[in-house]
């Protein structure tokens, strides 16, 4: 499955189906980063991972909502790196709780941080910095040195050589594969996103391989006309998947709202393992792909999630073609 970095050149067309992307680039035992801070979650990709029966994945997700809960319930995750896992209703994420309290359907090792600490770990991973010192997490249960809490994480604590104060050291977290749903990408993987971006800039860059799922595939010209919106450049990307509505029931800025009642529905339908299996049969195992999923939801439900347009004004980056615009002797 491993493909050399040289395959990811900037001008290779990397468009493929979701099933091909997951098959080629996600292997059993991989460490996965899943992008999207509540908005822009890669639901379509996660469902395909579950359908393909990937095993023993380490999943790293800063804000884990029902997407991670489903992956835990489906038994594909053996190790979870996160800051929280719940149903944003707010309500219990039942699979998560079953895994941690009853090891059902399997035991999941959990490695927890605060959001800022995990952002720093991704940042260190993206830049491959040896570590970053911070003043958060001290004294809490995450501070295993002081709290004797039984927490297992990668942090260390030491006295600052600058001031002597006690600091928390955050080492890099890196990933084999990163997956995120974005608003748009060109066929080569120049991916652009907007909205509330949480940890995704550094989460994505801490990955060896990247699968970009996009609401729309656009010409490179669109990217070049607004390069400040580019989240990752093409050479970092292994696969590009066109997958409209790929984040449902999570929201996509400018494209669809969160399907809020779905959170309540999910909470109710997953209270037992048996109920969860029924839920997954309907929404994941019993269908082939995202197109089937959208059919299940129905066009009316999708249309009702569309927001009004709320548009940015175009800005000009300026094009310069002459060598000296100004007169000179």
């Amino acid at each position: 499955m491993q493909e050399g970095k040289k395959a990811n050149m900037s001008k290779d067309n990397k468009l493929m189906s979701m099933s091909e992307a997951i098959d080629r680039y996600v292997a059993d035992g991989d460490v996965l980063y899943l992008g999207g801070f509540i908005q822009q979650e890669p639901f379509a990709a996660a469902h395909e991972i579950i359908r393909q029966g990937k095993r023993d994945l380490t999943v790293s997700k800063c804000a884990a909502l029902i997407l991670v809960d489903q992956m835990i319930g489906a038994g594909v995750i053996s190790h979870l790196i996160t800051t929280f896992t719940w149903n944003p209703l707010p309500a219990t994420a039942h699979c998560f709780v079953r895994a941690l309290t009853k090891h059902a359907p399997r035991k999941v090792e959990i490695e927890e941080y605060s959001i800022l600490a995990l952002n720093l770990a991704y940042f260190a991973g993206a830049l491959d910095l040896p570590y970053v010192a911070t003043k958060t997490m001290l004294g809490s249960g995450f501070d295993w040195e002081q709290s004797n809490s039984g927490v297992k994480n990668r942090l260390k604590f030491e006295e600052s050589p600058f001031t002597g104060e006690r600091v928390c050291l955050v080492p890099p977290i890196k990933h084999d594969v990163g997956i995120m749903q974005v608003q748009r990408s060109d066929p080569y993987g120049n991916a652009q996103a907007w909205g509330m971006l949480g940890e995704v800039r550094y989460g994505l860059q801490s990955c060896e391989k990247l699968i970009i799922c996009a609401e729309e595939i656009v010409d490179t010209d669109i990217v070049i006309r607004d390069p400040n919106r580019t989240l990752v450049p093409a050479f970092r990307v292994s696969a590009v998947v066109k997958e409209p509505w790929g984040s449902h029931p999570a929201p996509m800025a400018g494209y669809y709202d969160m399907d809020w009642p779905y959170n309540a529905y999910y909470e109710k339908e997953t209270r037992t393992e048996e109920l969860f299996r029924e839920f997954m049969k309907k929404w994941v195992y019993g269908i082939r792909d995202r197109k089937d999923y959208l059919k299940l939801l129905g066009q009316d439900r999708l249309e009702a999630l569309r927001p009004e347009r709320f548009e940015s004004d175009p800005v000009s980056y300026g094009r310069l073609t002459t060598h000296f615009g100004v007169p000179h002797a």
Partner: protein, 271 residues
């Protein structure tokens, strides 16, 4: 005063009492749940100049078109002066020392203001498990003043929490300093459906005021430890007509928080 007004609920008193703690022009880190409605109420009332920051990287400029259900709600996308990374808010505002106050909900709080949103029982093999920290540990670790807002319930107020998700004063203020947390940070107040608590001296929670429909005795019976009571303890002012009107009609007209409409409690949701 119109005769037909519905009576003030415990939740409304809690929200109004918490909002009154917010100073105008202050910079707030706002957590999910009660802090959302509390901060918007303050902004609509006495504190129009506050800056509201969410952990996902949003700095709000105006009251959103509808009340956000949580801080990652996409309605925030069209109400922000800045949208960026978590580094923009948790990093540069909070860790960077630019926040005045943090507002947090909590599952349980102990006498030193330590918050648990992680588990009941042993961490490695918990009896019950909650969502975890999110940005809460950052809020409580770094903010000059943390205000904790939660429904009063004896189970939520243990002598000592099973897991410190968000550090308060640990075993007392000295202990917080020993851990390396910065001076002049830590819990400022707890606001519940029954009372308002502040932290004094060694960082212990002290009852400062109580819901006028409750009593010191009820509040003391509602915690699992020997609660200290301030010598000038007093009843809280009930919500004014204006506070109540703005809260009910302007901030949350559909009862998303006030009537828990967003939770679909007891309602059938079929898809």
């Amino acid at each position: 005063m119109p005769e037909t007004r519905e009576p003030v609920t415990l939740i409304e008193q809690m929200i109004v009492s918490a909002a009154r703690l917010i100073e105008d022009k202050s910079v707030l880190m706002v957590g999910t749940q009660w802090p959302i409605i509390v901060s918007l109420l303050a902004k609509c009332l006495h504190a129009p100049g506050i800056t509201i920051c969410y952990e996902g990287g949003a700095v709000l400029d105006k009251i959103p078109d509808r009340i956000p259900f949580f801080t990652g709600d996409p309605v925030v996308n069209s109400s922000s002066a800045l949208l960026g990374d978590s580094f923009d808010t948790l990093g540069m505002v909070l860790h960077g020392g630019r926040a005045d106050m943090a507002l947090l909900s909590a599952a349980s709080v102990d006498r030193y203001g330590n918050i648990n949103t992680t588990c009941i029982g042993d961490y490695a093999s918990p009896k019950m498990r909650f969502g975890g920290s999110g940005g809460a540990c950052d809020f409580g670790s770094l903010a000059p003043k943390t205000v904790i807002i939660l429904e009063h319930d004896k189970r939520r107020f243990p002598e000592k929490v099973d897991f410190i998700t968000t550090p308060g004063y640990l075993k007392g203020k000295d202990d917080r300093m020993t851990s390396g947390l910065r001076p002049n940070t830590g819990p400022h107040a707890v606001v519940t459906t029954l009372g308002l608590f502040h932290f004094y001296e060694q960082g212990e929670m002290v009852l400062r005021a109580y819901n006028p429909v409750s009593s010191v005795r009820e509040v003391r019976e509602g915690v699992q430890f020997d609660l200290k009571v301030h010598k000038d303890v007093r009843p809280l002012d009930p919500p004014s007509e204006k506070e109540l009107h703005v809260l009910r009609e302007q901030v949350d007209p559909k009862g998303m928080y006030l009537k828990e409409e967003r939770l679909f409690k007891g309602k059938e949701v079929v898809i």
